[in-house]
Amino acid sequence: MDIVAFLKSLEASGLATRIRDSLWLFPLIESTHVIGLALVFGTIVIIDLRLLGIASTQRSFKRMASDILKWTWAAFALTAMTGTLMFSTNAVVYYHNFFFRTKMLLLVLSGINMLIFELTAGRTIHSWDKAPSAPPAGKTVAAASLVMWISIIVMGRLIGFTTTRAAVLAPPPTGVNFDDFLQGTPDKRGGTPAVHPDKK
């Protein structure tokens, strides 16, 4: 089964249909997504600023990480779940969206970034745990993390402006060109030039 066929069956699933047909389910799922991402981003910023030596410089890094990161992961699970639900309602359009793809790539990169931390500064925490900032490798990871997570937020917002729920009613023809989405000309896709609630 090719990916587009799979995405189409995902869109046709009972849950996706239920969300599309409901007046308030999608807005509520989207709100929950924002709550989750606010907690993910908010807690990650706290850790990154600690690594950079900008805030919480007096606290043990180890203690902070064990205090905070479990909440980050819980919030991330909530965000991923609600994100998947939103994706399922309009899977083909999201899959082809440039900003969606960039966002997914950035999420993978931030995972790799985290791995780099574990392999570098993460291995020597005992030696800098009480120091006001992490060694250079840790600082680099923290700065990269901040840039990536802010970019993820920007991409997420741009997805909302370049995809439309109404496009579900008139899905784009297969072999659609990415440039069509980038240039923001929905008419070219052959679908109804629908207006996202954000664009009204």
Binding site: L23, W24, F26, P27, L28, E30, S31, V34, I35, L37, A38, L39, V40, F41, G42, T43, V45, I46, A55, S56, R59, S60, R63, D67, I68, W71, I150, I153, V154, G156, R157, L158, F161, G184, P197, D198, K200
Partner: protein
Amino acid sequence: MKQFAEWLSTTFLSVFIQKHNSWVIPAIQSIHIVGIGVVLGSVFMIDLRVLGLAGMDQTLRQITTRFGPWLTAALCVLLATGALMVIGEPVRELVTLSFWLKMFFVAVGTLIAAIFQITLRKHEQQWEETLVNRRSIKCLAVLTFLIWVCIIILGRLIAYDHVWGSWSPATKA
């Protein structure tokens, strides 16, 4: 309000934002979300400390000194970017139930945060030793977090004000 919103949409700044809305609006909204992250993260950390779930290596005062200023600064960013969104799309924002409900909760949430920080400074010892252990204070911490959660939901609902049905002024317009 509709008339005011329509007048606002003819002002210079509003016309500028409307003209460049393809990038200005997403940019402002993105900054707004970054601010929301800092606010919710800060409130979350203070609330968790009150509940005894995180930051127990710090005093209540230390946690509040760390996160209070960030909360205030982020709220200012939210106010500025929020104002720009209202100026850019006055009718979309002002002629909704969600927006005004949100403003009410923002006022309540900000007031609680301000009162907490002031009383903590005045009665530090009492807060650290007895108040923080009170059940009512712990309930208030949960309630405060829920208020900010409601603010986020209502903020998103501005774009979907029709969910309120006949209560929404947008559906009457």
